[in-house]
């Protein structure tokens, strides 16, 4: 690709990000409901853990003291608002309406443009959900501070890798829409599985040693559990770097799988309407 072409492509992706950002900020009612729903979930989780610690008679549960657990719950809810990519719904709608044909004709890479859309959406979510929830947490629960400066520094790249990991899984799931013309609630099932198996609800150490050992060989652990345990300090720097390497490997695996499937699927796209 020539330099001017690459520059114009980058502009197109940036425009897509801006478009998503603006359009998501426009639906005020939806934003308020999403914020309230997330806040209810956050506060219920916090009350649950407070009650569990109050009744346990033990200062630590599965290696977490009460403050660490509350930080884990708060940060899990905060990052959780960003770890629900819209790529499946985006692709499903495009396949159903036939708009996918336009994406294939435009002079840019469709998956990258879908990624740009999700990045824009996530930026809007940061402003409309993540920041207000952070303020609510600081005011009414506790400031979710990292275990150390190193933990904070390692958390950021690990979370970015988590974002791409969950996004590539969603991208692969979206291919079902090309084969079945409909996704049904496959995305809901996938999201529920990810939340349970990745430590989005609870630290994986609570699931027992066998489950924890098996989870090391699956990609899910590296979506919530790794960045969260880095943040609260139960995963040390060396282990964190090793975990990030595994995150990168999983992302690569999913990208390769997608590229393999995309080449075959794209040859038999059925476009109706549009």
């Amino acid at each position: 690709m020539t330099k001017p072409a690459a520059k114009s492509n980058a502009k197109a992706y940036l425009y897509q990000i801006k478009l998503q950002l603006v359009s998501h900020l426009a639906y005020r009612y939806g934003l308020v409901v999403a914020l309230l729903t997330n806040s209810i979930l956050l506060f219920v989780n916090v009350f649950l853990w407070k009650a569990i610690y109050a009744g346990s008679g033990s200062a630590r549960i599965a290696g977490f003291d009460s403050n660490m657990m509350l930080t884990y719950v708060i940060v899990s809810n905060l990052i959780g608002s960003l770890l629900h990519p819209g790529v499946e719904y985006n692709v499903r709608n495009k396949v159903k309406s036939g708009a996918i044909a336009m994406d294939l004709m435009k002079p840019f890479n469709p998956p990258l443009s879908w990624l740009a859309s999700d990045v824009g959406r996530s930026m809007a979510t940061c402003v409309t959900r993540l920041l207000p929830m952070l303020v609510l947490s600081v005011c009414f629960i506790q400031a979710p501070l990292p275990a150390s400066a190193t933990a904070a520094a390692l958390f950021i790249p690990s979370f970015i890798l988590s974002y791409f990991l969950v996004w590539t899984i969603s991208l692969l799931t979206s291919l079902i829409a090309f084969m079945a013309m409909e996704l049904g609630n496959v995305s809901l099932v996938k999201d529920a599985l990810i939340l349970i198996l990745s430590g989005g609800y609870l630290p994986l150490t609570l699931f027992g040693p066998t489950f924890f050992k098996v989870s090391a060989f699956l990609p899910f652990k590296y979506i919530y559990h790794l960045p969260l345990t880095i943040y609260v300090g139960t995963t040390g720097p060396e282990e964190a770097l090793f975990g990030m390497a595994i995150q990168a490997v999983w992302i690569l695996v999913f990208i390769l799988l997608f590229a393999f499937a995309w080449k075959r699927i794209i040859r038999r796209v059925l476009v109706q309407g549009g």
């Binding site: 649950l48 346990s56 496959v186 529920a192 609800y201 609870l202």
Partner: protein
């Protein structure tokens, strides 16, 4: 032909609707299988998480895993029944915006009866079955014998929970008949009911407990009935179960009143 307006005529229409719904939903078996899988995962997975949380400490809010199982089961069963029979109350706002009440109001039937019997959602069975399993497990773990009195308590409690949910959805979403908007906060209510009916109210601060008991009586869906079922004496259990049923009846009556009043303000450009 049966005379319009009679109970048997309304029942005939309801049965006809149910048959049509069954036929149309069975046309999409993959859709049903998908939902069954998702709901199984949601409720059994949720119960598993609850068990892990309770076992990690010493129960939750003074409730051990046995009592929590009963509480969780009661909540899921009443939710499942609402999803099967009354899911249309979740979508009143969409029906208003899409002008769907035009047809309902034109029919020679009571509009509310016609509305409330228009949908039988078989997906709800996938909520109900895990709920029944968890409730059965909870009853067994708590050592509640299957006597006629206990069976009556359970049925009354579930009925109370169903009516409270129905009344709340109906009241809140009927506001759309005045406001002509999809923005009624139905999903927020679902989330509130989920949180307030699956965990002991004792875990919440006093303000929220008061709110869930006296303002939006979500505690009466399963928390108070579960406490009633667990109480050693029928003298305590019976009034609590009946209170749940009474509140459910009152809320449903309020919902029907708001819905009927709202219908007078309904307007659309047809469809």
């Amino acid at each position: 032909m049966k005379k319009t307006g009679t109970i048997s005529h309304h029942l005939d229409v309801a049965l006809c609707n149910a048959r049509l719904q069954a036929q149309s939903q069975l046309e999409y078996p993959i859709f049903l299988v998908n939902w069954f899988f998702f709901n199984f995962l949601q409720w059994i997975g949720g119960y598993w998480i609850l068990t892990l949380m309770a076992q990690s400490g010493n129960g939750i809010g003074g409730w051990g895993i046995n009592e929590l199982t009963l509480l969780y089961g009661l909540g899921v069963v009443s939710h499942g029944i609402v999803v099967i029979f009354f899911i249309q109350t979740w979508y009143i706002a969409d029906m208003v915006v899409d002008g769907e009440f035009d047809r309902i109001m034109l029919r020679p039937l009571n509009a509310f009866v016609n509305f409330i019997t228009r949908d039988i959602n078989f997906v709800g069975i996938s909520d109900l079955l895990p709920g029944l399993y968890i409730l059965g497990r909870g009853l067994s773990l708590c050592g509640i014998d299957f006597t006629a009195a206990n069976a009556l308590f359970i049925v009354v409690s579930i009925l109370g929970g169903v009516l409270i949910r129905l009344g709340l959805y109906l009241t809140l979403n009927s506001v759309a008949l005045w406001k002509k908007t999809r923005d009624t906060g139905s999903w927020l209510l679902t989330e509130l009911m989920k949180s307030g009916s699956q965990y002991p109210a004792a875990i919440f601060p006093t303000v929220i407990q008061t709110l869930f008991t006296w303002c939006v009586p979500i505690a009466f869906i399963s928390y108070i009935p579960a406490k009633a079922l667990l109480s050693p004496s029928a003298d305590i259990a019976l009034p609590l179960c009946l209170a749940s049923l009474g509140i459910g009846i009152a809320l449903t009556a309020l919902g029907i009143f708001v819905f009927t009043k709202g219908l007078k303000h309904y307007e659309s450009c047809g469809n």
